[in-house]
Symmetry: C2
Subunit: 207 residues, 2 copies
């Protein structure tokens, strides 16, 4: 049995969350050179509290990226929880990620500014995508020569879609996300027809 | 008839090239916050000459990335000039780019630090890759629903390969580059067998 968090625990957790949220704003704005004082002011917490939670700014920004990725991954897991076919789960996750670039531009900017290193993180989206690719291979839906290389290709492609959508605000996000997803499904061994069928399935609602 | 460059022209060109080379070193080291004085010292040119060539540091770093991309693209064009099949040209370009990440780690670091925005640049590698994809489509070798989305997926995947190779120095660069290239060829509509055949072809020698 876990003890209920004390009032001090809850306050401590709120302070940490406020610092992480402030760091996500700064990451989205590309302002990672902000001073600790500026970060604590943005978070509306005392400057001294910073070091109760993080040894330095790099640790805070790492935590901020990790938190953004975890939230995105948890959302995708929740939205696809009732789906059995791993190819549909993966297709839905890619199509939803494309749409989220437009719905959550700040989160997207965090992802894009963190860039290619994200693909290699051993937490957040990388392991989830690897899990989904392996599940698809296990049931014979996907065919890949090297799952890590496939994950690299998929991760790079979906990040690049974010960069494209950011650079071209007028581009149809649904169409671009679905075409890119169909391209990726074909890369994973699905036929043209099957890839087209999967990206035409209705998606769970976002928000 | 173009007049031969004067001695002053040549000296001016040498100074600019030295500044660009210094900026590439700083980009590779992630030190884009270096002061102009530090850049001119690294380039071994007078501090005052900087502003004869660039209005600010951002313009120099843009020029440095553009120069690195142009050199890489020109090398790929040269190495594939005698090949008629656009699918082979594209496969060779991807396989050689993977290998160049290991052969030219500094250039690679410039590319990786510049990241996803590279895919969207209207000069350098983006237009070359788009040209090659369109050539493949024109002769019926590639099938893509949207060439710009395909370019985005390919660009993201090949950049992510660079990140993977950088993060995993022990990984076999030839194998990883060829598997990723076969994945991309499959995405572009080639069969498994044809993709496997193309990535097994002998490559032109680098260096």
């Amino acid at each position: 049995m876990t003890a209920a968090p004390s009032r001090a625990d809850r306050r401590r957790e709120r302070t940490r969350a406020a610092l992480v949220a402030a760091a996500q704003v700064l990451l989205a704005e590309g302002r990672t050179h902000a001073a600790v004082l500026e970060i604590t002011q943005l978070a509306d917490v005392g400057q001294g509290t910073f070091y109760n939670h993080f040894t330095d700014k790099a640790e805070l920004f790492d935590a901020a990226v990790e938190d953004a990725l975890e939230r995105h991954g948890a959302l995708l897991d929740e939205l696809t929880a009732s789906i059995d076919d791993p190819a549909v789960v993966f297709a839905h996750s890619l199509r939803l990620t494309g749409r989220l670039y437009r719905l959550e531009p700040e989160l997207s900017q965090v992802l894009l500014n963190s860039g290619l290193n994200l693909i290699l993180l051993d937490h957040g989206l990388g392991p989830r995508a690897l899990r989904d690719i392996k599940a698809g291979v296990a049931v014979g839906r996907f065919r890949v020569a090297d799952t890590h290389v496939a994950l690299t290709a998929v991760g790079g492609a979906i990040l690049a879609l974010g960069a494209l959508l950011h650079a071209e605000p007028e581009r149809d996000v649904d169409a671009a996300s679905d075409v890119l997803t169909a391209d990726i499904l074909r890369m994973l061994g699905l036929s043209d027809d099957e890839a087209a069928r999967l990206v035409a399935l209705p998606l769970p609602a976002l928000r």
